[in-house]
Amino acid sequence: MRVYESPVARIGLTVFALAVAGFFALPLLWLITAPFNPRTTLAVELPSEPSLSNFETVFGNSFAVRALFVNNLIIAGGTMVLVAVIATLTSYGLSRTRIPGRDLLIYVLILFSSVVSGTAAMVPIFLLAYNLGLVDTLTGVILVMTGGYLPSAIFIMRDFVDSIPRSYEEAALVCGASPLRIFMDIAVPLVRPGVMVVAVWTFVNAWGAFLIPVVLLRSPENMPASVAFYSFYTEAGTPLLTLVSAYAFLYTIPVLLLYLLVNWKFGFRFFGGIKR
């Protein structure tokens, strides 16, 4: 539809695009080169003798392996299952019941979750967990994360649930199916894409979270990867870059894979009503 565009404008756009791309890409280069350099420094340099020795160091460190492949999976997986199940139930219930002022209610809920967030919320939540005996347990971390992510997950899920037709459910209702059966056999299969988006979103958030585990957990054997990084230091207080870089690489891979999966299935876009 663009009828004419001057070459100057084209060059200008290209230069601008390359500058912005450079701004976003340059800080990440280290994550690609450093893990394969057996003598890792803070510089971005192509290793003269690329090797996987840094990864061997990671896999030889049982604490690091446990943090990444056990604790992180339990925390992110557990939170993912809880949030996906509860968000699906909730947005379905909200969508199929007459509740006055429902849309406003959901907006208030999601904004309230932004109000009770970050370090400010961690003060009462830590004391709550402390009194419930949930400090230094993975269960505590999962429950607190679920509470924090649920409002946004309900918000994302709402779009998917609202868009499925009701005629099947009404037909099933006429045939005398119970609400739970309608939910399991009709609604859940239809909103499967929504469940997947919510699950991926929750997993990625819980996988990368630092603040909640660092506040709630104490013992080294419970630490997830985000906190484990801070024990890879020499006694002089400088990070062991060989270990850190390879660990960061391994820790990032699942996030990238899930991003590619969502991008391939749905195209990365806004979910929920934010795009209004």
């Binding site: 139930l89 919320a121 961690m122 459910e169 630092f210 603040l211 991003y259 209004r276």
Partner: protein, 303 residues
Amino acid sequence: MEERSAGVFSGKVGAAFLIPALFFIVVFLIFPFVWIFYLSFTNQTLTGAAAANPQFVGLANYARLFDFERWMRAGEFGSSLWITTRFVLGSALIGQAGLGMSVALAFYRRRGFLREMVYTLAVLAWIIPEVVVAFCWWAFLDWRSGTLNHILGSLGLGQPDWLFDHPLLSIIIFNTWRGAAFSILLFSSALETIPPSYIETADVVGASAWQKFRDILLPMLRGHVLTDLILITLWTFNVFTPFLLTGGGPVFRTQLVSIYTYRTAFKFFEFGKGSAIAVVMMLINLALAMGYLTMLRRRRVTA
């Protein structure tokens, strides 16, 4: 819309679906919000006598926060608020929103490789775990071997020790980088809703690019711009990630309010004072959220 809100289920059945979510929201959102007001009037600690039997201390915690004799000194509450204000202005309102609008406008009604590349890289910066990006930026900004100073050096520009000489500027640029994807995506999808005929008409009468932006795009995007500004202000105000890059230093120079809260409550275990800070933070959050809601409702009325 009205028709769709008719229920398939009765109220009772519908309520049953909501019970698990209500449990989590009441226990982990509403209760902490109410409880923290109470805690902020006590001398709660984690160890010692005040741990088992916290005493009611009235406004003492607030008096310590708002002790105007010392409140602008390094490491005190006032100075943290001032650092946070500059951080939000610089990284959210100017950095993220400015970059977001520039990128969205530059790629308005365009497709192709350049756009894909810029958008993908911005999204990667947004979704990679915060600890990883903190290490990446720590390497990037390193005085001696960091990529940034290599580039500046080869251009013959100065090579400052970023995290030491310009710590606040460093975390402002870092947070712009980290969060710009949201504004880019929001403004891009907002621009797509503007009918192309508006711009074409303006082209016919020979409007300049700036006139088109000011007289057509900006008025039509007003709601989206406000939405974006309020949300990124809210998030940036609470963000904790800069702690991973600077730890709040050197000498408290990047001690955002979120980091101040963290240190007070979880390094020194002064939960009474920590609660008072958290109350102030949440009230500021609440004001921002109310502004957002009011705006949404006003838009719905005019729409």
